[in-house]
């Protein structure tokens, strides 16, 4: 599974963020998600979508080495050893390592796929095709 984006399809519904927070934390809180939807209004009048592509810059930047790549290609934070320094947050090129006041450890995408499954517009999709494409309209 690999996240791909079609930003011109995004309608700003935030289903991806809602799904993300429910999946990661079992909480209803789009602010606790690893996706950023950037509305650009009134001009140019569209949305930019930022999602994690597992590039690993966060792992390179982490001074204590607590972000590691798993066999599935997903970088995960070891919450036990994270010091909350937030260097990774600065380093993330997509700006999708997010902080929330309720947590010391940043929020990192685990590639659960729920944003892909529930984005109604297929603006976030699976490049590898493991998650079937939804119909376009």
């Amino acid at each position: 599974m690999k996240i791909g984006l079609r930003e011109d399809r995004c309608s700003g519904c935030l289903v991806c963020q809602t799904a993300c927070s429910l999946s990661l934390f079992k909480e209803l809180n789009p602010k606790k998600s690893a996706i950023v939807i950037e509305p650009r209004f009134p001009t140019p009048g569209n949305y930019a979508v930022h999602a994690c592509d597992q590039c690993g810059e966060c792992a390179t930047a982490c001074p204590v080495g607590c972000i590691e790549k798993g066999d599935d290609g997903v970088y995960r934070i070891d919450a036990e050893s994270c010091t909350g320094c937030l260097v990774c947050v600065e380093a993330c090129p997509q700006k999708v390592m997010r902080v929330h006041s309720s947590r010391e450890v940043p929020i990192k995408c685990t590639l659960c796929g729920d944003c892909i499954r529930y984005c109604p517009r297929s603006a976030i999709y699976d490049v590898d095709g493991d998650i079937a494409e939804k119909r376009w309209y």
Partner: protein, 616 residues
């Protein structure tokens, strides 16, 4: 903790410049659900009888529902309410976008604004931090600029709802605007905020909304989305959004044309959903949670000017297109932008301008009185008049009161063609060939608005000439449709693509942790309907049957052309429809709820408060 709710009401006293937090009473949540229910109950309880709608005693209520922000289709909705300056009675308006979910995440289900400030203010909400802040730099700005300015100052994450210059100038149909194109459009709530000198709300919320059973909520939410993805209606409805209705409305002879004098616009294909997509090439923009985004956002370019706009959606195409005789979608879109930016309701504004044009055509209004010529099809005249209204200059000052007041000034011929009920202008369905739709407009609690009962589909289904059985259907719809406004979700997935409404009651259970059947929600909706009728009885002197009549054109003038040619609704049939409706509602022949009926609905206190006005 009340699951599904943020748990706190924000009390904003503009006179004293003070903000207070109150716990959301469990009884309010259980008995009135949220959104529209909260608005109706709070207006009844808190607006002093006889309050001037534009005076300090009126209040503005903003309320989210238990599904606002939930993983549900169209969960971005929030409800506004106030005593309406347009009707003098119950006023409310529903708004999409992202404001409602943000408000709940900040920790509030409802804002109650009271009093009046001497200086322009805006309400700043950043989670627990709530302040009334100076808005002198925003006063006078259009809604687009005001929203942009606040987002620049505070951060993109803030959700902003603002009034425009028309609200500041107390135009009776000024609206509240949000997300560069979403409005709480009807009943003049923008004017009420303007009278209080509250320019805007800006809110950011980062808190988790408590749920009774989060895992079950997400499971149910996933089920809803999967069901809607499989729904064939998605493909048909989403690309054009509500503007897709233009062709159908013409085919059934219901499209407002030249001040509702006709119901068929020959050039409708120039302004339909297809034209919108082809000519404006918009992106789709929706509310939170929406799988079928109906907002179509683009840059409108025409000889009138160039500007960004969300829309035009169906109502705007109807009221500014057919109703003004305009056959260029780009011009309709540009006027849409201007009206949005001034903070006016496109529906009422289109109705007022169309009315002025027909009065001019009929010689009821002279060039000297207006200050220029007016004619259907003249987009420049429309633009000129819209600006006059917002600035309340010349004829615009009178027209700012709406078609009812203007009709009274222009005389009986004008009154017969003034498109309104109770003082609220008609929205986008001409109904001389649709008796159920006429009844829906006649009896709607806020005045001539379509969305409490979009009964025209029923007219088409069972026969556009028939009156039998129509009242029953209108009542049923008047209960079903507002439920969505109680819950804080959009109704369009149910209306337009036939999404099963039982999904919403099923989702409500794990959200709030209590069983509600759809019938339970219907009972609340009926209670609210009756309460709002009582609000009108209390606030509008002499309120009753005589306030429920549509314009006399309904029975005086047959439709001149199109599929409904020759149709009108004879006066006796109007009376029959009203008789049926009141009887089925358990109201008197004068349209007053009986005390017995109110007691049966659990509104005994309301019955007692109006004991001298209501029949037993």
């Amino acid at each position: 903790m009340l699951n599904g709710y943020a748990g706190t009401i924000l009390e904003v006293d503009l006179t004293r410049g003070a903000v207070r937090k109150e716990p959301l009473p469990e009884k309010l949540a259980r008995e009135w659900i949220g959104g529209r229910g909260f608005v109706a109950k709070t207006l009844w309880d808190r607006v002093p009888a006889g309050a001037d709608p534009l005076g300090p005693d009126n209040i503005v209520v903003v309320a989210a529902g238990p599904l606002t922000g939930a993983p549900s289709l169209g969960a971005g909705r929030v409800h506004f309410g106030a005593k309406s300056p347009a009707t003098g009675g119950y006023g409310d308006a529903n708004m999409g976008g992202h404001f409602g979910p943000e408000l709940k995440q900040a920790g509030y289900d409802m804002i109650v604004v009271t009093g009046r400030s001497d200086e322009p203010k805006y309400l700043f909400i950043d989670d627990d931090r709530v302040e009334l802040r100076d808005a002198s730099h925003l006063w006078g700005l259009g809604t687009m600029k005001a929203e942009e300015t606040l987002k620049k100052e505070l951060g993109e994450e803030f959700q902003v709802a603002t009034i425009g210059p028309a609200g500041e100038k107390l135009v009776n149909y000024a609206c509240v605007s949000h997300d560069f194109g979403r409005q709480a459009g009807r009943t003049g709530i923008g004017a009420v905020l303007g009278s209080k000198k509250l320019k805007a709300f800006a809110v950011r919320g980062t808190k988790t909304i408590p749920l009774a059973d989060p895992a079950a909520v997400w499971a149910k939410g996933q089920e809803m989305y999967r069901a809607v993805f499989d729904n064939p209606g998605m493909a048909q409805w989403t690309p054009e959004g509500t503007a897709g209705v233009v062709n159908w409305a013409n085919e059934v002879g219901a499209f407002p044309t030249r001040n509702f004098s006709s119901s068929y616009f020959t050039e409708h294909e120039e302004i339909n959903g297809h034209a919108l997509i082809e000519k404006l090439k918009p992106i789709s923009k929706g509310c939170q949670g929406c799988p079928t985004p109906c907002g179509k956002y683009s840059t409108a370019k025409s000889r009138l000017g160039e500007a960004p706009v969300e829309g035009p959606e169906y109502e705007t195409v109807a009221l500014l297109g057919g109703n003004l005789g305009l056959d260029h979608i780009e011009e309709v879109a540009y006027l849409n932008h201007v009206i949005d930016d001034l903070g006016l309701d496109t529906i009422s504004t289109g109705a007022v301008v169309g009315f002025a044009m027909e009065c001019y055509q009929k010689g009821l209004l002279s060039k000297e009185e207006v200050g220029r010529e007016l004619a259907f099809g003249d987009a420049e005249a429309a633009l000129w008049l819209i600006r006059k209204i917002a600035a309340r200059e010349g004829i615009g000052d009178l027209l700012a009161h709406g078609v009812k007041k203007a009709g009274e000034e222009f005389g009986p011929i004008a009154q017969a063609i003034a498109p309104h009920v109770k003082g609220l202008e008609l929205s986008g369905y001409e109904f001389r060939n649709a008796p159920a739709m006429m009844l829906a407009y006649a009896t709607c609690d806020i005045g001539a608005h379509h969305n409490r009962a979009w009964a025209i589909t029923y007219d088409v289904q069972v026969g556009q000439d028939k009156v039998e059985g129509k009242a029953q259907k209108v009542i049923e719809l008047q209960h079903v449709r507002p439920i969505f406004d109680h819950l804080g979700v959009c109704r369009l997935q149910w209306v337009e693509i036939g999404f099963d409404y039982n999904h919403y009651s099923a989702l409500l259970k794990p959200v709030v942790g209590r069983d509600y059947t759809w019938d339970d929600l219907m009972a609340v909706s009926e209670k609210v309907w009756n309460l709002n009728r009582c609000f009108n009885v209390r606030e509008i002197p002499g309120f009753g049957r005589s306030w429920d009549y549509p314009p006399a054109r309904t029975w005086q003038d047959p439709v001149p052309d199109g599929p409904a040619k020759g149709k009108f609704i004879p006066r006796e049939r109007v009376e029959t429809l009203l008789d049926d409706y009141y009887r089925l509602r358990g109201w008197s022949a004068d349209g007053l709820p009986t005390r017995r009926k109110l007691e049966a609905l659990g509104l005994g206190e309301v019955a007692a408060a109006l004991a001298d006005r209501l029949p037993g």
